[in-house]
């Protein structure tokens, strides 16, 4: 685990921003493209996951865990 922690320091934060924005756009495209309700639901999940990934990448530098737990609370409520 130590080596992973040291290795990750070479990946810039910009890459994570770009990756999660592309994921988000794919989710938006799925919502606009499909007609099946469950697939639209899954696309919304994709968007939520993109935002979660971005928050996790930010929280590697900041103290953003609490934001993540808020988002995850929304997920849990939807599951119920």
């Amino acid at each position: 685990m130590e080596t992973i922690t040291q290795n990750i320091q070479t990946v810039p934060l910009n890459y994570y921003i770009i990756l999660s924005s592309v994921l988000f756009v794919i989710g938006v495209m799925g919502v606009m493209l499909r007609r099946n309700a469950i697939v639209i639901f899954m696309s919304i999940e994709l968007m939520l996951n993109a935002v979660n990934l971005l928050l996790a990448a930010f929280s590697a530098t900041l103290r953003g865990k609490f934001l993540y737990s808020l988002l995850w609370l929304l997920q849990l409520r939807k599951l119920q």
Partner: protein
């Protein structure tokens, strides 16, 4: 080394996300969704957020995707005969998504704060440190969240019982 892992994982994530959107059969797109979640879990491991990774693995890949697949099979929604949108609407959707991506990229390029080159990874994502943070600094919000969850659970039980009568 880790850059190449990141590239590989990002490629897999985007590929399976595109397959989710473009797969014809809804069950296939649910299975591609599982792969997308798995690669996002690997991203969390790379970000040194172990708790996040475990929770994502259990809840998303375990619970939510099984729930979706069950719902599809019970309600018989996974038919191939999904009503297709007309082709010009599909073109419009793809073009609109491309424009949105262009806007987001322009906004990212315009910001000056995006120049952080390396992430100084902290140990907050480990389970032990996360628990300490949650029960020391964020104790009150944590309790409020638990109250909210309990109220949601009670509400769902009430709704389910009312349907029986």
């Amino acid at each position: 080394m880790s850059q190449s892992i990141f590239y590989l994982l990002g490629f897999v994530t985007l590929l399976f996300a595109l397959l989710v959107v473009f797969a014809k059969n809804p069950i296939h797109s649910a299975l591609y969704m599982v792969m997308t979640f798995f690669s996002i879990t690997c991203h969390y491991i790379l970000l040194n957020a172990q708790f996040l990774a475990i929770v994502n693995f259990i809840v998303y890949m375990g619970a939510i995707m099984v729930l979706i697949l069950f719902a599809m099979m019970f309600l018989n929604l996974g038919k191939d005969s999904e009503p297709q949108k007309p082709i010009y609407l599909k073109f419009a959707a793809v073009i609109a998504a491309g424009l949105l991506m262009l806007t987001i990229f322009a906004a990212i390029k315009k910001t000056d704060g995006g120049e952080i080159t390396g992430i100084p990874v902290n140990d907050l994502g480990l389970v032990k440190n996360l628990g300490k943070t949650l029960f020391k600094d964020f104790l009150l919000p944590f309790e409020i969240i638990s109250i909210l969850l309990i109220s949601a659970m009670v509400g769902s039980v009430l709704l389910a019982k009312r349907e029986i009568n």
